[in-house]
Symmetry: C2
Subunit: 245 residues, 2 copies
Amino acid sequence: MIGYVSPSTGRRVRAVLFDTMGTVVDWRSGISTAVGAFADAHAITLDPDEFADAWRSYYQPSMERVRSGQRPFAALDTLNRENLDAALRSHGIDPGAFTEAELESLTRAWYVLPPWPDSVNGILQIKPDFIVGPLSNGSTAQLVHMAKAGGLAWDVILGADVSRAYKPTPHAYRAPAAILGLDPGEVMLAAAHNYDLEGARRSGLATAFIARPTEHGPGQQQDLAASADWDLAATSIIDLAGRLR
Amino acid sequence: MIGYVSPSTGRRVRAVLFDTMGTVVDWRSGISTAVGAFADAHAITLDPDEFADAWRSYYQPSMERVRSGQRPFAALDTLNRENLDAALRSHGIDPGAFTEAELESLTRAWYVLPPWPDSVNGILQIKPDFIVGPLSNGSTAQLVHMAKAGGLAWDVILGADVSRAYKPTPHAYRAPAAILGLDPGEVMLAAAHNYDLEGARRSGLATAFIARPTEHGPGQQQDLAASADWDLAATSIIDLAGRLR
């Protein structure tokens, strides 16, 4: 059998799908830059990196309300917009001081997050031999704009609004595989987050860890290394391309 | 306002989505080549072009059974496979003479249809200014494989299995627009078939006709020219790229 065969699934991998926020793009510097420009424009004093972290801190709890059934599926665009209000309030800033267009424009910073330096070329190196795409909690519209802005040459983009499920819910991993006509074991998730790889493995996917030790800034504590025997562990997407050969 | 504004919708077009079978790829020569190889391998005497037309003749009636509610949604892959049995029988050939793997392999010819000579470069010329993708009755898996095989640089691929509707049902046109975060009037359908453009216009989309006068072979009678005042009418996708500037 040619190509890459996953030791854990025993199947030849046909598609390599990537967690995106943190794994492919550097959400923290992208959001921090946008927050800094917003603060300057409105003469607000704040630390853009710290505010980016605060905004991001509502990300998992807001998705958890969907996963747990407390609210019906809402796309990440909606959650990011709601979470901006919460982050502003947590800094003593009234969201009502801004127009909806201003807040919406700042939220759109999540559409144009910059790729890590190895992402564009790493994806191009994997693409000749595998279907490549995101497997993200982001929306399809968000991921399409991000790909065009950053030059990510995905073959296919199926956002969480297509599966209407957030990782690590099993359907979020299995629906994209099914739409591609593949068994879960023929799909590899590449991600910088061990909890995401745990979810993928539980759902039957092959797994690859990509280290992103500065995703959360210089003091990052979590996900510095693989926490389990994932099929592959790489230091970048270019490194992953080499390991898949 | 910069960019292309549709006279019929009054909106700036953000995405140009293409009918695929016939408009972007030459299904007839692709299927004919595969049928010819199949006939040779099994020592069957038939006219590959004529058989391709016969196979294709079951295409609309099989989708119509889904559109009319006579059967639940089934992906085009399933319909193409069923229609192969019908085409073989109509030629006095028993499908039972072949293994399921052989018939499935022949049906997969629909996954690797060759692009028309202008398609790859035409799409590349439109891509810097618009989101580009198929808006086809094909499945996502089919369209992903076709794009990789033919070098079609789509930004996004949402097959009919995502909307679970076949054109010209309005939902088939409106669902991809909604997933892209766009109003229908911000999406243009480019197609070689006037009935498809009629469906798109009824659903609120902008429209562009692309002439493919030999899609059905040298004796083609239908769709030789635009039948209505579509926003644009072009002789190729490269010509369309110029008209969108």
